[in-house]
Symmetry: D2
Subunit: 341 residues, 4 copies
């Protein structure tokens, strides 16, 4: 049976990406689209690429009749999301795409985000949305917290290795490069075409908030404190994240741990040994490509992980989780191929 | 019933784009993929973005058992295509994406392409693949000739106006800008990132071969000789064509002719008066957006037409035609939304 | 003798571009840099690419001792510029890069810019800064008004033809495409990398304010009212403008009028017949390349003009005019070659 | 006195970049330009951005009268360069931009480049062209071997640290990202705009030939074998290399070693603590920006180094070395500011 969907924060990039995937989803129907500052506008005015779709007019959140909604995606800014979700019906299924419910420890949340959490009870029931590692919990939960896009990219190659105990947990570097769309649609000087194009730079070195997610998930998986080094860079491209991860271990054990862990996964592909992924080859899709290459000598091994920050890193991940929460086929609506070139 | 599809020339960009759309097409199955120089390779080696698909190994054309094929897409280079198609079974349905069967007059073909046509009988039965204007013929034909990507972009805003007689046929300028993917995947200095990026230039001014298609279709529609001015430009982007068309006429008559002609069309959208399309808003889709803006005075009117050269300008257009030829729903598999940003 | 220079509005792109050229200018020295909101900052904090230069700290305009300044460049926003210049010493030489002093008719100014001009006496003495056409006036003036970047690109190919009377002044179309840096550094959604990259669109169709400059200069040159059609487009690149101009006339007369007019000009190059310019081949330079190609039949001729909007379209043009006003060699500091690729 | 310069291999990107810098060099004059396959052509036909320069017609190498040449730049492909230079007059000063004379050990050369060196005596006299570390040798030598562009980017932040002994030489990772122009102008599928744009990927992981330069220079400086981990990536931009280097040591010692070593250098800038460089801020210049940021805990420190691969990584580095070899001011002609945006 077709499920009725609401999207809060529909005027941002992740909102639009949700709509793009749901538009061809066999079992979902968009019932309501909220975007407070653009309420009253047609979606085609906000995102002309969606002109061909028959979509509801943008409304304010309080105008939605949530009794008609099977699941609600929240694509709102950080901090806003927790205040909105706190006031939604407590039996409504929610997939949140913000950072608000990712961290389980309220003190850690306060430390990284600079204020006390304002919906701690919901934080308590939220499941971390890395589907391949929380599948059963997600099926059973009411609230899923979508992962950070960088966090997901770094976790896919690393979690199985920490799980299998085949790498040194004290020597992990995640060198990551991301496209600009992760920064959202609100105007910022640093995201102007003239500032980004034809250039690359690091940002938030060793202090990016997704470090908190790495700490939480890596430590949990390893059963001990794990503190990775993390350096994100901004790329002159719109979509795509590439994580280049440096670890120490045996390359065959590493490769086998990854292929073993992901052999049944529909969206995670471990490339043949020695091959490396490219972000343009996962663009616009829910797929993640992982490569493994040993260093020329010694026990260092390089892992490469590529996904689309707006899709597998945010909106199509959210739909994958929603499919589980709604009892739908997990892959429903998500098998669109990457758009290349 | 699912139709069995073969693609000849599967290792080029239009080949990959055909596969991308067919992969989620409800009624088509890829039975054979030919790419002579890459025969024996897996598609994932040629186009890693298709790694998740279960596709046949690339083969040579003569290895295909065409008795098992319901329809064959030919995505081969110009001139090669006619020689290959000449030798295919004469009852095989074919959608050709090359320029080989677009021009109905053999003398005109020889003039623009520099050699005698080598499959004139097939040229004779081929229907021009501009779906919205040859729908009934396409349903009935065995061979459809896909349009030039630039040609389609220029024709969508102009054909209804020539049909309605609301513009001066002697004063038409098509100023067009296209992404680089139309030039294909074979290495050329002029298509290197370092040559194209951060720059724009005109090319083939007043002598582009798509002029022959304009002459043929515009003259046929107008019932008199029409010779437009046509200046294409190369953009620093991969996908997308924008035609800026200058005509003379009454803006209301023009707008009404367009909205009247396209009101029932599923893929052609005439924007509200005064709005202009953007190529990024049709990227990767079968949609075409058309805008109309009058000059500040006088009877000049500007038309704007945007489509994706690899999709509506080539591969998804080909599938739309194949749907008609196979008795399928015309829109089947083609409603994927544009990927933006 | 080295001239002391002040730049007002040094924190924008044209300000930085002025500094880049002046840094290797043999006869200019930067004495003061003003940027009101960033006063107190070092230039390297605002524009890290200027870190190697020994530049004054950014100050407020009123902090500058103008008695020490030989010439002042104003790179301030439109409307602001006239208010600032009105209050500067009346014997100070000024090159203004805003739109404030380009239009000679106050009524026309008010019509296009939406308010009465607030420094009409200075407007009265200002000379239009298209160097090659106002050289003697610029040498003698106290105030030069830099041209619009689009306006300059359109005027270079057209003014000599109107002067020579070799084209029909009633049938001129300027189809223009520009990079994003012309929109400046203040954050706007439409200029985000994610909005601009991989796409092209028209903007301000038939109502761009540079039309007022076209009307003024073309009419003056032709000795009659000339009203061109003008459609600008936004390109996915940072720098560069390409004007594709459609006129009617004899191609040989047109070509000869251009080569004759520009044969002695150091910065304007008319390409060999049939060749077309590319914006990447003038990037970062004071050069303008012009091409001429006839249509395949009839009397229509296409003109192509390429320049860098921040350089020849703004800052290096301003320096060229300043050279004249200061009695320096006109080409001093301006012969930097384009940066390609 | 003005020095007469010849450039062999003038039709490639590094050749054009040499011309760009020499064109405004106060003490150099281009006497001869060779490009065997394009001999007889004007430079403006090969590189239209150089149209404004009065340059010699391209010739064949053997047509040059080397008795008139003070210094010859060789911008030829690897392997070709050694054969050409072997046959040049033995008293001719040469700056070679290829990889042919960078490695001092013939066995190492043969191992990395797959063939015996064919001009071993010249290899023996060649000095490695990292100016800031071989300044005196370069002043005295007849032949300088320009560094690899990636090699230079990695060496600038690391050599002072190995020299000062403030980092662990057994735990160094160079994660590097480069623009496409380093791959040259000959057409390759992997360098097409459609393949590169909007994507990033690693290449030649742990086997890039610049590793041989790292091994040679780092080991020499450290006085022991040093084998770094090196992973280069290809960026969707034309120019610029960013090296992100992971080391272990004390951040203050590291920062002081860098600022101490480079305090007198005109082209190497160590940014304020915690700041990171961006490739767009050195574009088209001979400047290199270096940043230092400590990890959030532990003894890991991240170094960031940005330069333009065609300029400081190749052609302007070559001119800096030529200045020394010719007894000119080292900075002559090299102080052009970066072009941003």
């Amino acid at each position: 049976m077709t499920k009725s969907i609401a999207i809060l924060g529909a005027s941002g990039y992740t909102g639009a990406e949700l709509i793009r995937f749901i538009a061809t989803h066999p079992d979902m129907h968009i019932q309501a689209l909220a975007a407070d500052r653009k309420a009253g506008m047609a979606m085609a005015e906000v995102f002309p690429q969606l002109r061909h779709l028959d979509l509801p007019i943008l409304c304010k959140i309080h105008e939605i009749d949530f009794s008609q909604i099977d699941l609600c995606f929240c694509a709102l800014p950080h901090a806003t999301s927790q205040e909105v979700i706190r006031d939604l019906p407590r039996d409504l299924k929610i997939v949140d795409l913000s950072a608000d419910f990712r961290l389980r420890d309220p003190a850690i949340y306060a430390q990284w985000y600079g204020h006390e959490h304002r919906a701690l009870d919901i934080q308590d029931e939220a499941v971390y949305g890395l589907t391949e590692f929380y599948r059963d919990d997600i099926k059973a939960t009411r609230v899923t917290a979508g992962t950070g896009c960088n966090a997901a990219t770094g976790m896919y190659p690393l979690l199985p290795l920490l799980e299998a105990g085949v790498i040194d947990p004290e020597d992990i570097i995640i060198n990551l490069a991301t496209g600009v769309s992760g920064a959202g649609r609100s105007p910022k000087e640093a995201m102007l075409h003239a500032e980004v194009s034809e250039g690359v730079r690091a940002y938030n070195v060793a202090k990016h908030r997704h470090l908190a997610e790495f700490d939480q998930e890596f430590s949990k998986m390893a059963g001990r404190d794990v503190r990775v080094t993390f350096v994100p860079h901004l790329l002159p491209q719109n979509r795509g994240i590439l994580a280049t991860v440096y670890v120490r271990g045996d390359v065959d054990q590493i490769y086998n741990a990854l292929t073993g862990r992901y052999s049944g996964e529909p969206f995670i592909f471990v490339l043949p040994p020695g091959e490396v992924p490219a972000t343009q080859h996962v663009r616009g899709s829910n797929y993640c490509h992982i490569g493994v290459v040993p260093d020329r000598a010694g026990d260092r091994v390089m892992l490469f992980s590529a996904l689309d920050n707006l899709s597998k890193g945010a909106s199509s991940q959210a739909i994958q989780n929603a499919n589980l929460m709604l009892g739908l086929e997990e892959t429903a609506g998500l098998t669109l191929s990457p758009v290349f070139p």
